[in-house]
Amino acid sequence: MKALLVGEFRDGKILPATYELLTFAAKLGAETVMFLAGREDMLPHYGGKLYLADVSSVGEFNPDGHKGLISQVVEKEKPDMVVFSHSSYGWDLAPRVGLALGAGILSEVVEVEAGGEFVVPACNAKLRRRLKPKTPVTVVTLQAGAFAAASTMEESPVVEKMGGGSEVKVTFDGYVMAEKAEVDLGKAEVIVSAGRGIGKPENLALVTALAQALGGEFAASRPVVDAGWADHSRQVGTTGQSVAPKLYMACGISGAIQHLAGMKKSDFIVAINTDRDAPIGEIADVLVVADLKQFLPVFTAKVQAG
């Protein structure tokens, strides 16, 4: 078994998720080579063979070009598997590479099992699917954090430089940073967060009232921000802020992986949800099965009364 790992370089840095690919490969017992569009003076801590394309000429985001380069490496190395992170880079590029190689493609793998089977989530993590590729070469993307990176060794790769990668339809014209957050949720000791389960914008007041009673900040999950009920600066999750308060209360938040990634390091997590099976229950210290519209006013009054 041989795996080609596709590392990720963004805004001048190697992304740490690159090292999660190594954990996955070790779990499979695979021999590895790596591809990276990166820089020679900033090599990954990796002891194997690295195919390095110069990022200053091929670009950090250049899906058509990177697809061509990865196909070249596949041609030479004949791997059984090409592995990406399930990130904005990986989910864009993996299907392109998979199609070019005639490979079966598995997205957001969370586990590998005996017999060449892979586990992926479905229905907002409420279910899992066990899948098996039917093709000689497989392309996979790995869920962020599912294969935690081991501490990196002070190793250096054997570098083989690559040219090419100039076939381009989609061009990358630079990064834009979302507006600076006006609220620094990172400093709050208590965060009370509203999810889709609040139902309508008026109910946000129940969440802010509890946040105030606890001397904390209120926050929101993505659907609440997308609906325009809360400002983006209050969004917790992969595309918002990452927080780790002493107490995080998730009100009506089902627990999509993107949200969990932004709050699972909190010291103590309480979830309030009508759905006993909501995935948030996986990481909550306490799951209160209740309708937040009834529960929050009563609880807030008790907090205020001490």
């Binding site: 989910w91 997205s107 014209d173 609880f299």
Partner: protein, 257 residues
């Protein structure tokens, strides 16, 4: 301008799912069905583009059982011009490569300038079908968009990355774009538009006429994840629950004095 929007009907994710007898998918009876949330942004962006350029024709396509016609009608009420139902009672058994092959087979040679899709579905979330269709058709593919402009020659867009970062990207049309949540504000169909949509044509195509590929992934099984978290579950009367939670927070955290 010719526009195609591909949409998927998905179950309401608040549902309780039961695994089917084969153990490979969920039981589809007793579920409420709706348009995949990401696809609502795709439909809206297509309609906005039509409003911008004036002359455009929007085809709404969905693959699935007969029930998906209801979701096609919703997209027509939002502003689509015509519908295509690729009838397939077994679409849930197909892998993303097969679904993409079906859509590409339909779209090939029809000269669409733009194809809009959601960046993933809420039930499977593979994020593959859009990219595969675009690559099969040989058009530009831009994914995960939170901003979209088209001047009739090029698409200029922003794609969402992690941690609040966005990438500015552009590409010539024809192009396929996949839409991320928050790209726009999907409209609610008005009653007059719902009535008008009833008169719009929905063509039915049998999936067998379009499927020329074999699956590359086999489904072995589906199951609910084993609950690992040893978290406490509190149930009962609201007042009692509030009392118990307050007691726990006083004991286990330092935030309540």
């Amino acid at each position: 301008m010719k526009i195609l929007v591909c949409i998927k009907q998905v179950p309401d994710l608040e549902s309780r799912f039961k695994i089917n007898a084969q153990g490979t998918w969920f039981e589809e009876t007793d579920l409420a069905w709706r348009m995949n949330e990401y696809d609502e942004y795709a439909v809206e962006q297509a309609v906005l583009l039509k409003e911008q350029v004036g002359e455009a024709d929007i085809t709404i396509l969905s693959v699935g059982a007969d029930r998906v016609v209801e979701t096609i009608k919703k997209a027509l009420a939002m502003g689509g011009d015509r519908g295509v139902h690729v009838r397939d009672a077994h679409s849930y058994e197909k892998d993303p490569f097969e679904i993409a092959s079906i859509i590409a087979e339909y779209a090939r040679d029809k000269g669409y300038d733009l194809i809009f899709m959601g960046m993933q579905s809420q039930d499977r979330g593979s994020a593959q079908v859009g990219v595969l269709v675009g690559e099969m058709l040989g058009v530009s593919v831009l994914t995960t968009l939170v901003r979209f402009e088209c001047d009739g020659q090029r698409v200029r867009a922003e794609r969402e990355l992690e941690g609040g970062l966005r990438a500015k990207v552009s590409a010539p049309i024809p192009a396929l774009v996949t839409c991320q949540l928050g790209l726009n504000k999907p409209r609610y169909p008005t009653l007059p538009n719902i009535m008008k949509a009833k008169k719009k044509e929905i063509q039915t195509v049998e999936v067998g006429d379009l499927l020329k590929a074999n699956a590359r992934i086999e489904t072995i099984g589906m199951y609910p994840p084993v609950r690992k978290g040893g978290g406490l579950i509190l149930e009962g009367d609201v007042s009692d629950l509030a009392e118990r939670l307050l007691g726990i927070l006083k004991e286990k955290t330092t935030v309540i004095r």
